[in-house]
């Protein structure tokens, strides 16, 4: 793999192969809200962890951690439902030769419905994310981890509650 780093803002349309190509295909599918395609780009048992995703219940905290085909698919579908014009732009992409890929991605959209504790006031957000992937030798994603800052997100959407 020869991928160094792609810094092209919204112009990222590289002719990549291997792990970076799988990741770019994932964000292409996400951009057009094709959740089934996003899932199909992952292995059957692909792991999923959205680190900032914590929902406080009465007895325990629910984490955004599990499998792509269960937790991941549900969260992506809910996000697209709440932000019907949800989009993304890959601003940097780096990979090693063992299938590890890291992507800096700007995710944005206009809120149409409540999401978690964030009531909908029709606000717009643009939020930097860091995604880490592992891609198998067959070109399928078998691990997704993401980081972002919920304070920035909530403030943009007019929410001031921590929980």
């Amino acid at each position: 793999m020869t991928t160094d780093v792609i810094r092209a803002g919204t112009e990222v349309t590289p002719h990549e192969s291997g792990a970076p190509a799988a990741v770019l295909a994932f964000f292409d599918a996400y951009r057009v809200h094709d959740v089934e395609r996003m899932v199909d780009l992952c292995t059957e048992g692909a792991d999923f962890r959205y680190v900032p995703f914590e929902v406080r219940g009465r007895q325990r905290v629910l984490h955004g951690e599990g499998k792509v085909r269960t937790i991941g698919k549900v969260i992506w579908t809910a996000l697209i439902d709440a932000f019907p014009d949800l989009t993304n732009a890959v601003t940097s992409l780096r990979a090693d030769e063992q299938g590890n890929v890291v992507a800096e991605v700007s995710v944005g959209g206009i809120q149409a419905r409540p999401f978690g504790i964030i009531a909908s006031a029709g606000g717009h957000f643009e939020l930097p994310h860091l995604f880490l992937f592992h891609v198998t030798g067959d070109g399928l994603i078998d691990d997704i981890v993401a980081y972002w800052d919920n304070v920035d997100w909530k403030r943009q959407l007019g929410c001031v509650e921590v929980d």
Partner: protein, 145 residues
């Protein structure tokens, strides 16, 4: 020193709160982006101030590297967990002696002569506030037990 070793060294010195030693691993004009704090600037000032405040507020700080790989452009990519008990005000949050565990992701760009030239860090500040007892984002300094 490989980029991997350099990154391990960096996080070890971050844990120790050794600002001078951290800066000793960097190029003189190294930059830092602490994304959740919206701090983007020179490591020698902005980065050093953050390391100092972290060390002062969490004197028992532990930095655990959970995942580390080096990309083809010699950037060390790390998932870490920082852990400690608050002992002083931190990022405007008053000290309630809360114990904190927080997952973070860091990118360390390494030059051919083994110096770090750029640092970028991501975490969820909401998780940090939750662990420190903050209830409202418009009243960061007001906490509840």
């Amino acid at each position: 020193m490989s980029a991997r070793s350099l990154a391990e060294n960096f996080f070890g010195r971050l844990q120790a709160g050794e600002v001078g030693d951290v800066l000793g691993l960097m190029t003189p004009d190294a930059t830092v982006s602490l994304v959740p704090l919206n701090r983007h600037g020179p490591m020698a000032t902005d980065g050093a101030a953050y390391v100092r405040e972290l060390a002062r507020s969490f004197p028992d700080l532990v930095v655990r590297v959970r995942r580390l790989f080096v990309s083809a452009d010699n950037t060390a990519v790390a998932e870490i967990t920082i852990e400690g008990t608050q002992a002083d005000d931190f990022l405007a949050v008053v000290n309630q002696e809360k114990h904190v565990e927080l997952d973070q992701a860091w990118l360390l760009k390494v030059t051919p002569d083994d110096r770090i030239s750029a640092v970028t860090a991501y975490w969820d500040q909401n998780q940090l506030y939750r662990r420190l007892g903050v209830k409202r984002l418009d009243k960061i300094t007001i906490t509840a037990g």
